[in-house]
Amino acid sequence: MHTYKKSLQHYNIVTNMDNQSFSLPNTPTPAIPPASPPGEAPIQPPVMQPQSLPVAPKKQFDIRILIIGGIIILAIIGGIIAATWKPQETVVLPTPTPTPSPTPVQRITVPVATQSAYRNLQAAIATLSASIGSTQVNDTTLSPPVIELSLGFPN
């Protein structure tokens, strides 16, 4: 009898160990409702609904985003228009101003410059320069004729 009790205790220990080792630590064990007392309506166990994925709550459309977007689009369009549009330039007719003439240099002329000797000399030098410029040193009219010297008969 004593042996039987011991074996029974041992069995409990083993059973408890088994239960501890195989039970999931975080899985809540559904509580078994206590047995309804006799005479009362039996309490139905709660039906276990299958656990579904959490659905994000439907966001409401934010009007501020619309306003900011609208402002940005308007700013871009306004920038493009401002870049391409040139205001019509008004043609301003130039007011004719008097042409500034160089300040005349007051050069003092020497008396000899008015004499005929000076003028004749000036004209003679101009004529000489023209003569030198028109002189042809490679005058082709003086070139000798090119003739055939050999008659070309075999000896």
Binding site: I108, T109, V110, I125, L128, I132, L151, F153
Partner: protein, 266 residues
């Protein structure tokens, strides 16, 4: 009455009669005309020669002989007309040194005499071999003829530049004298500037004279050269003529600047 008529006739004769002098322009036209004839006769000669060399017949030989006589005579005539043109150019040139003029005239006259004697050989030519001999006589003499021609041309061109240089120097002297006579009327800075400018004009003339001296020396070496050397030296001389003329041109341009600047005190 008779006296009046005779006087009128003499007057008309004096008015309308112009002595005929062959100017260098007329002789140049004559030379060009002879050159045209030479080209025509040369073509005929080439045809006759090629027929003779091809067929060797008596007829073709006779044609080649006659064509050879014609071309030799025309060649001498062409050269003679050219030399006469050169001789006339020498006569017309008043700025050439008399000794040079005499020298070149003698050279040209000698060549004309040679060509006349060469033409005299045509009468004794009776075969193709004779024509080759007559032609050879001119060919062997042609280097001397060519050097005489080139020397004369260089002499004529030198005389043209010498004439211009004479005028240039005369005007330079007059301008300088004018400046010296009125030196006191110019500002001191202007006076020193003018002195420097006159010096530069003189330097240009010195460069011109050096170039002309070189040309004269090279022209003398044309006498005893080969044909190729004559042509090379002549080309060099022509280049030097251009440089000499450029110095004169630059000097006269300076002179124009000076005469303009001499109008003003400063």
């Amino acid at each position: 009455m008779r006296t009046i008529i005779v006087s009128l006739l003499i007057l008309c004769f004096a008015l309308f009669h112009q002595p005929v002098f062959a100017s260098s322009t007329d002789l140049y036209q004559e030379y060009l005309s002879q050159f045209d004839k030479y080209r025509v006769i040369l073509n005929d000669f080439k045809v006759a020669r090629s027929e003779y060399l091809k067929y060797k017949t008596l007829t073709s030989e006779q044609s080649a002989l006659e064509a050879s006589r014609s071309i030799l005579a025309q060649r001498a005539l062409l050269l003679r007309s050219y030399l006469q043109f050169l001789s006339e150019k020498l006569k017309e040139n008043n700025y050439m040194d008399p000794s040079n003029k005499t020298l070149f005239t003698t050279l040209i006259t000698n060549e004309i005499n040679f060509l006349e004697s060469n033409s005299g050989l045509m009468t004794s030519v009776s075969s193709i071999e004779d024509t080759e001999g007559a032609s050879q006589q001119l060919t062997s003499h042609y280097t001397i003829l060519q050097s005489s021609i080139f020397q004369t041309i260089v002499g004529l061109k030198s005389a043209d530049l010498i004439k211009l240089d004479g005028e240039y120097y005369q005007l330079f002297t007059k301008t300088y004298d004018l400046f010296q006579a009125n030196r006191g009327t110019y500002a001191p800075e202007k006076q020193s500037t003018m002195d420097r400018w006159f010096l530069q004009i003189q330097n240009k003339r010195s460069l011109y004279q050096q170039k002309m001296d070189t040309i004269k020396k090279e022209n003398d070496t044309l006498k005893s050269s080969s044909m190729d050397e004559i042509n090379t030296t002549f080309a060099t001389i022509q280049k030097e003529f251009m440089e000499a003329r450029q110095y004169l041109g630059e000097g006269s341009a300076y002179l124009q600047e000076v005469i303009t600047a001499l109008q003003y005190r400063d």
